[in-house]
Amino acid sequence: MVLVPRESDSADLIRVRDLTTRFYTEEGQINAVESINFTIQKGEIFGIVGESGSGKSVAALSLIDLIEEPGRIVGGEIWYRNPDLAEMVADATPDAVDGAYVDILQLSEGGRHALRGSTFSMIFQDPMSSFNPSVTVGEQIAEAVEVQRRASANPRSTRARTEDFSLVSFLLSSALPSRQFVTPDSKDRAIELLEQVGIPDPAKRAEEYPYEYSGGMLQRAMIAQALAGEPEILIADEPTTALDVTIQSQILQLLSELQDETGLSIVLISHNLGVISRICDRVGVMYAGELIEKGDLSDIHQSSVHPYTQGLLDSIPDFEHPESSLQPIPGNVPSLLDSEMGDGCYFADRCPKAMTTCREKPPEFTVDGDDDHTVQCYLAREAYDPAKALEDNIDSEEPDATASTMNREQLEHSPVEFDNE
């Protein structure tokens, strides 16, 4: 699918088209991310929500090109708006350029590597395991500063701008303090960054090791590190899951403030729709490797179409109306093993409104003529008709009535948990 960018769309910083990432394991092929489409606009917070195993983290890692063996991005395009980069790579790889947009998946490995830190940066779920335990926090942030300082000193080079630190340079740097990778300037900048994310006494804390930090403080340091390269897009993969509830809101607040101050775009990934709702402008819902519904936060909250999205909303406790009960979604996330995935809608066997048409995979529909609100569900086109209900969904899986109830009870007692704040 070739994308023709229109001038009016210039707010799109990133356009992801048909992105597909698979893992080739011993058990078989796993379709972790299957042909997803979305855009990230400049200065927005885009949320991706889904259960664990729905492929949301893999989607994020695909963006920043950190998919590791045995995984591989097997198809799709990631168009990144950057006129300078487009001009630079236009001669070498004309196919990868379309106006001001560059398809980063067509860049060389070095070219993609150079985008890390400067265009994309990422923070992870558990800050304690995301820092090297035996190097001071300040030094690790200074490394991130240094990577970008060196890159901007040599901006015209399209090959890996940071790969020029060879083994020889490393050996020299171990022997001579003056040849070290991290310079005093970067260390000063690291302290400024720590201050920016609200760490008290940053000069002293920069000299400390990760184990001397609390979880919340370390997540702030992680954010400081991610800001070091002044990136355009910050990917936050479950940034609050490992933290205490009170710390969670502080971190979310910090992300929101930073977005306001610096105008960067944030991709926030969470299994918790409550967290997403707090700060996101637009939301995408992932299920079984697919982006099944996406739209503005208000679209998702008020006029969601996909029964899965509605299920997610029902599983948030509503403290204003405590009388309405929590509704867990019965069943579990399906296996992503290629051999076990059917042809129809992957949610059909858990769906209360599954119809015979759902045996065929639904295409992407727009909702109410709103181009920004799309959904992969036939309900966007036709209302639920009980007469066409899918025979083999959970309600009628077992012909025996008692067995069927039992089955359902079991399912309801092991609901997929959605953490709530």
Binding site: S134, A144, A228
Partner: protein, 329 residues
């Protein structure tokens, strides 16, 4: 706990262990069958002569007096007189020490120079031919009996090819360096190198294989950790990801393992010295045991034991210093 307090605690523990070593070694003589006198006296010695010998060796005193005298002697650096050669045991032991130290250091040096790069290459090319070659080498290395390896090296390089001497130290390192400095003569150093190379390979092979294994497995484990992904996410050059971060964290625990394996190195030295007729401590252990030369047996065991304790204190302190997370617990 501060580093000084940690060091103090570790040194006190070490002193206790050293005291234990001395005591065990001292008591060993009283727990073994056979009268030391019969190994010293002529076979047809009359009882009077035997009594005289016992008197001379201080064997007539009660146990606690002998123990106290032995301890006092040790503190003053006196390990007693060899029963057989009637020379000072301490000076005989320390005369043998340099040969063993040179051998052990060369073996360690060879091991480190070969093993760490090999381990890194192996981890970086996991499941590729170079990895299989390196892991097979390490498997054979930790499985080869080193006395046999030494003999095979002699068979190939000394007997068959005739390119290297089959052992026996021609000149000590100190002597060779003196020749080099005062006489500008490299032949001493050459002879030293030619004689030490086969014994050092024999002693070092096990360690090369062991460190290679530990480096490979450690690197693979480190490279699979979450923080590596975070380092890559910030665009850090792969050289730094691998060597500044992963390798460093891999090598830190290896240091302590090597400290504990020091005993294996010394044990290996006994065998290697026997194979190559190397004039070190290892052979002294065997000859003095066979002769029941108690002051020499005790002295050698104490020197080896104390060396082990001291090196492990150094290693532990180093470990605590480079690994902040451990602190000085």
């Amino acid at each position: 706990m501060g580093i000084y307090k940690f060091l103090l605690k570790r040194v006190l523990q070490g002193l206790f262990v050293i005291w234990g070593i001395v005591t065990v070694v001292f008591l060993l003589r009283f727990m073994t069958p056979g009268d030391p006198v019969s190994f010293v006296a002529p076979l047809d010695a009359p009882p009077a002569l035997r009594a005289q010998i016992a008197e001379d060796l201080g064997l007539n005193q009660p146990l606690h007096i002998q123990y106290a005298e032995y301890l006092i002697g040790l503190v003053q650096g006196d390990m007693g007189y060899s029963y057989i050669s009637n020379t000072d045991a301490g000076s005989r032991i320390f005369a043998r020490l340099p040969a063993t130290l040179e051998l052990a250091l060369m073996a360690t040096l060879i091991a480190i120079i070969i093993s760490i790069p090999l381990g890194i290459i192996s981890a970086a090319n996991r499941h590729e031919p170079s990895d299989y070659a390196a892991t097979s080498f390490s498997l054979i290395g930790i499985s080869t009996p080193n006395f046999w390896l030494g003999i095979m090296l002699i068979l190939v390089f000394a007997e068959t090819l005739g390119v290297l001497p089959s052992g026996q130290q021609a000149i000590g390192l100190v002597g060779a360096l003196q020749m080099l400095i005062f006489e500008q003569n490299v032949s001493g150093l050459r002879a030293w190198g030619a004689h030490i190379i086969l014994p050092a390979i024999t002693l070092g092979t096990y360690f090369t294989a062991l460190i290679m294994r530990l480096t490979r497995n450690g690197m693979l484990e480190e490279l699979g950790k979450t923080y590596i992904r975070a380092l890559r996410a910030k665009g850090l050059p792969e050289t730094l990801v691998r060597y500044k971060h992963a390798l460093r964290n891999t090598l830190i625990p290896i240091i302590t393992i090597l400290g504990l394996q020091l005993g294996t190195l010394i044990g290996g030295a006994v065998v290697t010295e026997t194979v190559f007729a190397w004039p070190g401590l290892g052979r002294l252990v065997i000859t003095s045991v066979l002769n029941r030369d108690w002051p020499l047996i005790q002295g050698t065991l104490i020197v080896i034991g104390v060396g082990f304790v001291v090196i492990n204190i150094v290693v532990d302190s180093l470990y605590a210093y480079v690994n902040p997370k451990v602190g000085y617990e």
